[in-house]
């Protein structure tokens, strides 16, 4: 019997601007 492929799980992604914000705050936190 053929097995139906499992539906893939949507990975939520931040927007490009949100990603940059996160990156900036991480850089600020690190000494």
């Amino acid at each position: 019997s053929t097995q139906r492929p499992r539906p893939r799980v949507l990975l939520k992604a931040p927007t490009l601007a949100e990603m940059e914000e996160m990156n900036t705050s991480e850089e600020e936190e690190s000494p």
């Binding site: 949507l10 990975l11 992604a13 490009l16 990603m19």
Partner: protein, 394 residues
């Protein structure tokens, strides 16, 4: 008899495994510290394929955090490189090409049937199994737009100082200088002082160089076409705006030289197979301005010919060129006020834009059409110079 048993190499399934703690090293060696020259002679967009193979392994092991983390650090790494090399055409092309390729891979191997029509059976085996990365595709598409805008800005910055000089001031047609209007000091808006004049060959050489870099880096042909459409628009806008403000270039001889220069640019597009890019169409106002300078401007029939020809120029622009038009010598008459009034009367029905000058900063919206690759992941070889020995082939 001696029997030799050959151990069969384990099949490479086109996935790359790495330990979480090596992620920073991976993005450093593959993104932030990578020089495009290191990859000459390898498959174009190799970093994109390597990254996809890493994502695929994280998908295979159902590790969503690893996928999130790798994509985030990759995207941040690319942004960091672009910021550092914001005037480097080759580096910017390299990352535009790779970002688009990664985007294409995430589509081609998404499992969405619409993106799989050209896949081989082997390629279909290399699709993602667990995760839907649609939202990351949007982020990569937004990033590609940013990189494209940076690329245009760099190319325009290189070409801009050449345009007025090459298109309007340089005389490559022999004997034309003898029929230039007299009494005007040779001037150039593109430089303060010194001899910084450029000929059209210099512009063409520069465009050849841009084209070669983009082809070498494996940038999608549709994107290369859009780059040149944008650059040709800028050449059109800068040249026409100068023409509309300078009496010394509004002459029959400049019209002649300009038409010749435009035909050289058209020929260049054909030679590089870029004639379908829409670049020539962006030059239409300038082509018509060159013709307007050369047409007779005396009788009502001349007025009618001008009105039916100059459809890409506004009434304001046509009238301005006619007002600025400078006769070659004492035998040629100035354009009369009544001739200009005839033109204005004929064109009054037109709904023209209000501004005289073209917006030289205008950008056409860019599109990144899906371009699947025929390459199969398990055929990709990682060169030693990338220092990625910590990646395990799975």
């Amino acid at each position: 008899r001696q029997v030799t048993v050959q151990r069969k190499e384990k099949d490479f399934q086109g996935m790359l495994e790495y330990h979480k703690e090596d992620e920073a090293l991976l993005t450093r060696n593959l993104v932030t510290e990578l020089k495009p020259q290191m990859l000459s002679g390898t498959v174009p967009c190799l970093p994109a394929y390597i990254l996809y193979m890493c994502i695929r392994h994280a998908d295979y092991t159902n590790d969503d955090l690893k996928v999130h983390s790798l994509l985030t650090s990759t995207i941040n790494g690319i942004k960091k490189v672009l910021k550092k090399h914001n005037d480097d055409f080759e580096m910017t092309t390299f990352w535009l090409s790779n970002t688009c390729r990664l985007l294409h891979c995430l589509k081609q191997y998404s499992g969405d049937e619409g993106f799989m029509t050209q896949n081989t059976a082997k390629q279909n085996e290399h699709c993602l199994k667990n995760f839907d990365l649609t939202e990351y595709r949007q982020v990569l598409s937004d990033l590609s737009i940013q990189i494209y805008q940076q690329l245009i800005k760099i190319a325009e910055g290189v070409l801009q100082p050449m345009i007025v000089s090459a298109m309007l001031e340089n005389e490559s047609i022999q004997g034309l200088s003898g029929v230039k209007p007299t009494g005007y000091r040779k001037r150039s808006s593109s430089m303060a002082d010194g001899d910084n004049s450029y000929c059209l060959e210099a512009v063409i050489r520069q465009m050849n160089s841009f084209h070669t870099v983009m082809c070498d880096q494996g940038l999608d042909p549709e994107i290369i076409q859009q780059v040149f459409k944008q650059l040709f628009y800028m050449i059109n806008a800068m040249t026409l705006n100068n023409l509309l403000l300078r009496k010394d270039v509004c002459s029959w001889s400049t019209g002649m030289q300009l038409r010749y220069n435009i035909s050289q640019l058209e020929e260049w597009l054909r030679g590089r197979n870029l004639h379908q890019s829409g670049a020539v169409q962006t030059m239409e106002p300038l082509i018509q301005a060159a013709q307007l300078l050369q047409l007779k401007k005396k009788t009502p029939e001349d007025a009618e010919a001008i009105c039916s020809l100059c459809t890409s120029l506004s009434t304001q622009q046509i009238v301005k060129i006619l007002n600025l038009y400078t006769p070659l010598n004492e035998f040629e008459e100035r354009v009369t006020v009544s001739f200009i009034r005839t033109i204005q009367a004929q064109l009054q029905e037109r709904s023209d834009p209000q501004q005289l000058l073209l917006d030289s900063k205008h950008m056409f919206p860019v599109l990144f059409p899906f371009n699947p690759s025929s390459l199969t992941m398990d055929s990709i070889h990682i060169p030693a110079c990338l220092n990625l020995e910590f990646l395990n082939e799975v």
